[in-house]
């Protein structure tokens, strides 16, 4: 038996296996033409990080401009472009792909005990489409950008805007197909590729969350695709159904746009909730409370998320009766999210909680998503929304759920599964420091914005009344702290690639299926295809995890 087989035979082992998915082939072609879901996930990781940084630069520009009441750093026209581009980069090219395309792609086959996704070539095509769309969007930004807001409302975007709506709109249209193909792949994989013994109710909640997300991707994304297409046709041909002067209706654009874009926010946050379920359960060393409730609430959020889009149209001219229906349903859609929060809290109770970096992010999510979610209910009440809409209250709300929720969950997931993906442990000390910087910086940035919005500061304005300046300065100061907190992981994570301690298969002694293969995993994920005989989050005797042996062999993770 050769060394390679010997290494693979032993299953558990300490350190990094000499042959794994990272080093099995190292040519450029073996990366760019790969069908391996793990390599595709890493390429997505690099790409979304690039877009995140570009979006972050736009955010920095916004906060710098808003230090002073006058529009002195940027002209208003330029400011319009900056916040539009911040939104487009962050939403379409970072938030929507981040957890599914990076963590989902990497982990779903491993978590279900499969060799790869069901349709690896579709996975690769999805990546190519994402790159092409991203390049096109960047090109559009470089030649002059768009100033319509990421929401592209008509008739400004169709008739009056003099910016590059077509190019950026086309980029978003193309990017939609990347999302659709990823979702399609996940649904097929989860249905057909589960290992023997891996029943639906033994799946990790991360997988349930991604199944729900994939449903939303498939059902919602095509609608925004056709909407952007109609927008493009109307812009080019100067006639269309959104043009009020010929009897068209601009509000129809808003209906069709938000039919996708509201479920899109659930595309962004549901995977984050899936990550948090993993973090809370595993770092409390306790089976998650209410597994079925969390699983079904993911599906419920996906379904109900399609029924509430009109809450973005309360003041648009939509009928108030329709508004009432949407307002009521908005209250209803909060319930499954609340169920999750209660279940996570109950999981913590009497658990053996360890405050490793990923857990800090998980706990941060719970607190920040709570605030974001509750303020969403304020905005969902039609009467209150009349006062709060288009103010900084809305901006603060969605940043709490998107950044305080999704980005923090994403960072938590990256840190949690970093040892699995790379075989290395990062510095726990710097991890904790940056988690705390992110938490403090985030709250300092966005909490003042609730106050600003309530007091009446409008969103998307470069200039504001001088009495709002103090809170804006707090917000910009917080943004600097947040920026540092987010840059630090880039440094210490990259540093760990070369200098980090080898993690071993299971640095935290956890029962999940992904921790029962080497770190990094072999090309086909498992030395021998697994047969699952234990329940999800099984920390007791039934998990089949030989803790003594694992402890003996595994390298201890670095703690401070």
């Amino acid at each position: 038996m050769n060394a390679q087989d010997a290494v693979l035979e032993t299953g558990y082992q300490s350190g990094i296996p000499p042959v794994n998915y990272l080093n099995i082939k190292t040519t450029l072609a073996s990366w760019l033409l790969t069908k391996d879901h793990k390599r595709i996930a890493l390429m997505y990781l690099v790409s979304v990080s690039v877009f995140f940084m570009i979006g972050g630069l736009f955010a920095a520009t916004i906060r710098l401009e808003l230090l002073t009441p006058a529009s002195d750093l940027l002209e208003t026209g330029t400011y319009n472009k900056v916040f539009t581009e911040h939104g487009i980069m962050m939403i379409f090219f970072f938030l929507i792909p981040s957890i599914p395309a990076v963590l989902g792609n990497f982990l779903i086959p491993i978590m279900i005990g499969a060799k790869d996704l069901a349709l690896p070539r579709i996975n690769l095509i999805s990546l190519y489409i994402y790159w092409f769309a991203g390049a096109l969007a960047l090109y559009g930004l470089m030649v002059g950008g768009v100033d319509t807001g990421w929401t592209f409302y008509t008739p400004y975007s169709t008739t009056f805007s003099n910016t590059y709506v077509m190019i950026v709109g086309l980029a978003i249209f193309i990017n939609g197909f990347s999302s659709i193909l990823t979702g399609l792949n996940f649904i097929v994989t989860i249905h057909t590729m589960r290992a023997p013994g891996m029943t639906w109710f033994r799946l990790p909640l991360f997988v349930w969350a991604h199944y729900a997300v994939s449903l939303v991707m498939i059902l919602g994304t095509p609608v925004v695709a056709i909407t952007v297409l109609l927008l493009a046709i109307e812009r080019v041909s100067r006639v269309g159904i959104f043009d009020p002067s010929i009897g068209g209706d601009p509000i129809l654009f808003q209906h069709l746009f938000w039919f996708y874009s509201h479920p899109a926010v659930y595309i962004m946050v549901l995977p984050g909730m899936g990550v948090v379920s993993e973090l809370i359960s595993n770092f409390s060393r306790k089976k998650i409370f209410g597994y079925e409730f969390i699983a079904f609430s993911s599906i419920a959020i996906a379904v109900f998320g399609f029924l509430v889009w009109g809450h973005h149209l309360f003041v648009s001219g939509q009928s108030p009766y329709a508004g009432m229906v949407f307002s009521f349903l908005t209250m209803v859609v909060a319930v499954p999210s609340a169920i999750k929060m209660f279940n996570w809290t109950a999981t913590l109770y009497k658990g053996s909680v360890s405050f490793d970096t990923p857990m800090l992010y998980g706990l941060g999510f719970m607190g920040l998503f709570l605030i974001g979610g509750l303020t969403g209910l304020f905005l969902g009440s039609m009467g209150l929304d009349v006062h709060l809409t288009d103010t900084y209250f809305v901006v603060a709300h969605f940043h709490y759920v998107m950044v305080g929720g999704q980005v923090i969950a994403y960072l938590g997931g990256i840190h949690y599964w970093w040892p699995k993906m790379t075989g290395r442990m990062y510095s726990e000390f710097w991890g904790k420091i940056s988690a705390m910087l992110v938490f403090v910086g985030f709250n300092l940035t966005f909490f003042p914005q609730f106050l600003l919005g309530y007091m009446g500061m409008p969103r998307r304005y470069a200039a504001y009344p001088p009495e709002f300046q103090v809170l804006n300065i707090f917000s910009t100061a917080g943004a600097s702290v947040l920026g540092i907190g987010m840059l630090m992981p880039v440094i210490y994570l990259v540093h760990s690639l070369k200098f980090g301690k080898p993690a071993g298969d299971n640095p935290w002694m956890l029962p999940g299926l992904e921790w029962r293969t080497t770190s990094p995993p072999p090309l086909e994920n498992f030395a021998t295809p697994p047969v699952v005989t234990w329940e999800a989050y099984e920390f007791g005797e039934g998990s089949g995890l030989d803790l003594e042996e694992a402890r003996r062999r595994a390298a201890a993770p670095a703690i401070l």
Partner: protein, 109 residues
């Protein structure tokens, strides 16, 4: 050696069956063409549209069930088909609930 894994899905429907479905589709097309010329609005406004849609749904059902083999497909496929119609219905209904309840409404005179 190649296994036959298709014991139960060979020849869902033979040639006569396909021709029968085809005949239904052609009849449906001719029917919808001629019914459209008859004014049915004395029954209730929109009756013509309703009849046309009923015929179209029947034709679609024939194509889906027999040509696309949905009749013999696993329940997951049935669920996918049902879900897509349900989602279309959500989109139509919730958009129209706005337009129908505006003061410049559609059915109010």
């Amino acid at each position: 050696m190649a296994e036959h894994h298709h014991e139960n899905d060979h020849e869902h429907i033979a040639i006569p069956g396909y021709l029968g479905v085809f005949a239904v589709l052609i009849v449906g097309t001719i029917l919808t063409y001629f019914v459209a010329t008859i004014d049915l609005d004395w029954i209730f406004p929109g009756a013509n549209t309703l009849v046309a849609l009923l015929i179209a749904f029947t034709k679609m059902a024939c194509v889906m069930l027999f040509f696309m083999h949905v009749r013999w497909s696993p329940r997951l496929i049935w669920l996918a088909v049902a879900a897509s119609f349900f989602w279309l219905a959500i989109m139509f209904a919730y958009v129209m609930q706005d337009y129908l309840t505006r003061s410049t409404g559609v059915f109010t005179q």
